[in-house]
């Protein structure tokens, strides 16, 4: 616990310093608010709208499908590195894995999850 004392002092000093500065500013500084001054970005572009807009659910779908099919590479590289050690059993397993992924791909495609057109 000895080594932590200096860090603890540092924390206290940091908090106290920041607190005192902000406190002095509030106490001593003049306060004349105007709409420009109280905008979130006082010296930037004026805000054009709410940041919480509705996004199309397709973005989530595509992101999720990307994740799923991206993982396959994470399995293929180690298998490729260990190809000779794993031999035919390893090959069969990877083909089975790819077959399952392919089924999923066909399903996603046929269900129209990859169509980015207007809604039918």
């Amino acid at each position: 616990m000895q080594g932590w004392l200096s860090i603890f002092i540092m924390l206290i000093v940091g908090l106290a310093f920041g607190g005192i500065m902000v406190g002095l500013g509030v106490l001593l500084g003049p306060s004349k608010p105007s709409p420009e001054k109280s905008a979130p970005y006082e010296c930037g572009m004026p805000a054009v709208g709410d940041a919480r807009e509705r996004q199309s659910v397709k973005f989530y779908l595509v992101a999720m499908i990307f994740l799923l099919f991206d993982i396959e590479v994470a399995f293929l590289y180690p298998w490729a590195m260990a190809l000779r050690d794993l031999g035919w059993p390893g090959f069969v397993q990877v083909v089975l894995f790819m077959g399952l992924l392919l089924t999923g791909y066909i399903y996603v495609w046929r269900k129209g999850a990859l169509d980015w057109g207007a809604d039918k």
Partner: protein, 479 residues
């Protein structure tokens, strides 16, 4: 390579059927009718046959999947649950216009996960199986996408379930940290070696694992999601998840706590005692005040989880056999009840209030009789399966010295009879309302499922010896 794969054949059958269902759905034209449900039943029958052939063989695959008789017995229950759920689903899927292929594919994937969970002998594999079944069941809960109740149910179930999974995974990590393995046998050996003075870390790990399991079997105080999820899901799905998930989770629960963590019994016994008592009491007392039949059965299923915990705590030979027998009886009976609720629901009216059942006897004497039978079995009346199951649980508890727990169990069981009987009184002694329930014709497959369920409930109640022997024989293989 190939003879070591025999233990995974049952779940491979179910998975193959699920993938076939998914592919069929991909090529199905909109509105085209395809026999996807029967396809799933074929896969499940394949799994049942392979399970039968694996009996007494103790096959092992990858050192992680153990097809011992215990796992196989639970697998049989799960396969039966799967087949009956699919049979009960067909009229509901049609009526609600649910996506045909996805519905059955998810149900089959969940069943495969449950079977894997019952046979897994490695904590990581148990976790994977738990996730496979949970994810499928979350989606099934919310499969009525346009219903606000269903969406709320699925969201609650998903969020709380994700938390529980995190607890479980944390428990696995700590167990691995202390014992250096995720294999249940090795964990058991490592714990036995230091059971005189278990490290606090190990107790922490055990607590985390307990929370994960307690959530899945909806034991108090981790039961909050149960009534909402059971109410929002379509009734056959509720039947499926209230029986299948519980059976699979109890199988893994038993394996982990009565095999690997058995040396620490002194540490967990009191906790399980308290949780079992709380589960029975809360499930029963809150169930009394429900006016929706689905919520009532949800609380009843919480209470049944409590009786199963009593059997688990007893942990003697009788208790272990009683867990399996109770799971089988409870699963079949509850499935029948929810299947029937699914038939009684209609597109215009939910018909899920207990008062909706007034005078059902006049309109549909057979449905009323079957419902009465399922409810009496859940309440533990002879000559139905529920009576024998409860009898064995309480005998086991008394023999193991948990007399007080048995007394609580019997008392709550008596109180629970109140709410089961209330429905029966509604059906038989209350005059029908102005707009009584009219059930359209029942499809043959659902009617057959009802008959099969009723026959099994009666069989388990009148001639329990054979199944009890099997249960006892399966317990002998792991403990």
């Amino acid at each position: 390579m190939f003879n070591s794969l025999s233990a995974i054949v049952p779940m491979a059958c179910v998975t193959a059927a699920a993938i076939a269902a998914m592919t069929a759905e991909a090529f199905r034209a909109p509105r085209e009718r395809m026999p996807i449900g029967p396809l799933g039943i074929v896969g499940l029958i394949g799994a049942a046959i392979s399970t039968f052939l694996l009996w007494n063989r103790n096959a092992t695959s990858f050192d992680m999947v153990v097809a011992d008789n215990f796992g196989l017995f639970v697998t049989w229950i799960l396969i039966l649950v799967g087949i009956l759920s699919i049979a009960f689903s067909s009229p509901v899927v049609e009526r609600e216009g649910l996506p045909l292929g996805e519905y059955y594919a998810l149900m089959l994937f969940a069943t495969a996960g449950m079977i894997l969970m019952a046979m897994a002998s490695d904590l990581l594999l148990i976790f994977l199986a738990l996730e496979v079944l949970s994810l499928a069941v979350y989606v099934l809960t919310g499969i009525r996408r346009d219903s606000a109740v269903a969406t709320e149910a699925a969201m609650k179930y998903f969020l709380l379930g994700a938390f529980a999974s995190a607890f479980f995974l944390y428990g696995i990590a700590f167990t691995w940290g202390v014992t250096g393995s995720t294999n249940l046998t090795k964990i058991g050996a490592a714990i036995a070696a230091q059971s005189m003075a278990p490290s606090p870390m190990l107790l922490f790990a055990m607590g985390m694992l307990f929370v994960g399991f307690a959530f899945k079997v909806s034991a108090v105080p981790f039961h909050m999601w149960t009534p909402d999820a059971y109410e929002g899901a379509p009734p056959p799905v509720t039947g499926f998840m209230s029986t299948g998930v519980k059976a699979a989770a109890f199988a893994a629960f038993t394996r982990v706590f009565l095999a690997a963590f058995e040396p620490l019994r002194g540490e967990w016994a009191d906790v399980v005692w308290a949780v079992a008592a709380a589960t029975m009491i809360v499930g029963t007392v809150v169930g009394v005040s429900q006016s929706s039949i689905k919520r009532m059965l949800a609380y009843s299923s919480i209470a049944h989880g409590g009786y199963l915990l009593v059997a688990l705590l007893a942990g003697n030979d009788l208790g272990k056999g009683a867990i399996l027998f109770y799971l089988a009886t409870y699963a079949i009976t509850n499935l029948g009840a929810f299947g029937l609720i699914g038939l009684i629901e209609s597109r215009e009216r939910a018909n899920d209030q207990i008062s909706d059942y007034a005078g059902l006897w006049q309109q549909h004497p057979w449905l009323a009789a079957l419902m009465a039978m399922f409810l009496l079995s859940l309440g533990g009346f002879p000559p139905f399966g529920g009576f024998i199951a409860k009898y064995y649980v309480f005998i086991a508890a008394v023999q193991a010295g948990y007399t007080w727990l048995a007394i609580i169990g019997v008392l709550t069981s008596v109180v629970s009879v109140f709410f089961y009987l209330r429905v029966i009184v509604m059906m038989y002694m209350t005059p029908a309302s102005a707009t009584p329930i009219r059930v359209p014709s029942i499809p043959a497959i659902a009617a057959a499922a009802l008959v099969v369920t009723a026959v099994i409930v009666l069989y388990l109640g009148v001639l329990p010896a054979q199944v009890m022997d099997w249960a006892a024989a399966s317990i002998g293989t792991i403990f």
